[in-house]
Structure formats: C-alpha cells, structure tokens
Symmetry: C2
Subunit: 109 residues, 2 copies
C-alpha cells in the first residue's frame, strides 16, 4: 500500500482519465487519500495552509477520480480523473500550460 | 523560471512524449535540471543517495527529453521524453504499473 514520507505525504499527479493530459500536481496525506477514496473527488493536503482541501471546494471545479495508480516504490500516485472545468486556479485547462524554452516560459495552451 | 523548494528540489513527472503515459516521478535540483537541458537526457537528484544521477546510467534505458513544461507556481515540471527501454527499474514500461483497488494493488500492465 502507499508509503507516506517523513512529512506524512505522497506526491500526487493528476492526469485526465480520457486525454492523458497532466492536469496538476499536489500532495496527499493519509486523510486526503482516504477522503478521495471515500468521496470519489480528489482531495489534497496543502503544505502552506497545513490543512485538507478538496479541489474545487471554492471554484466548483472538482476532479472526479476514476482510478489511482501507485508507483514501484509506493510513494507517488497517478490520480486518473475527469475534471469539471479548468484544473488550474488561473483558469487554464492544466497547470502545465507553459514550456521552458531557453530562459523563457512560452504558453502552449 | 522554475523555483526550487527549501530542499533545493523540483518535482519532475516524466511523460511519454508520444503516448502520454506517465512513466516515472523523481526530483530535480538545479544541477539535474541544467544537465538535463545541456545533454537532452533526463537527470535527477537522488534524495537517498544525495547525488546527481542520469536515468539509464547503469541500465542504458535513457530518457530523451523533447520538452519541459512548468506548472503555474513553477515548482513542478512535466518532462516529455522518448524512453529507450523500460522506464522502471523493475523492467515495467512505467513505474505506475499497479492500480489501488480496495486494500490491494492490481497490476495493469
């Protein structure tokens, strides 16, 4: 089963369950993983705010989880989800909307 | 530009540049990111060994980097790459070869 690190966290990569696009990256603690599995909606642990949060709790842009994959050393997850609305708080479809090119970031969405 | 955390690290998600499959997850420090960009081959920072490593340095299963994406808060990367051989040290195509189902892990590859 998943192994939480010294800070009690797992790395969680959210991937669109149909298109394969990587939507966002965040951390889960035990509580966030349990809530995600109980409700089917992605929950995370905010390191800066030190609390549980549900993606979409204020925006309504929830992530409906279809499947959770675990990596070989069991400290990282892929959360396959169907997003309701943009995944990024900026309004972008994905948080990964820029490419690193030379010394610049270029928008790709 | 990318922002390294208090430990000097970025989270790096490796995604197959053609299929979109998520292949592995690791960390990069400044040195690893610079080496990756200089050589076109993915390099990471091993937290357990405290050193730079190139994916494939012993197995030959290198990752040829096509593009690097940066997330909204600039502390996570998607490394789009073409793998030479399996990405996982277990021989699996991806490190994420199991799904979490109830209290079990089921192989999906």
């Amino acid at each position: 089963m998943p192994k939480f690190d010294a800070a009690g966290l797992l790395s969680a990569i959210v991937q669109h369950a149909e298109t394969g696009e990587i939507l966002m990256f965040a951390f889960m603690d035990r509580e966030a993983l349990d809530k995600t599995r109980e409700t089917g909606l992605a929950h995370f642990h905010s390191r800066s705010r030190g609390r549980l949060w549900m993606k979409g709790e204020s925006s309504g842009h929830v992530l409906r989880v279809q499947q959770v994959l675990v990596d070989c050393d069991q400290d990282a997850l892929v959360v396959e989800a169907l997003p309701e609305g943009p995944a990024c708080h900026t309004g972008a479809r994905s948080c990964f909307y820029r490419a690193l090119e030379g010394d610049e970031l270029r928008r790709i969405d």
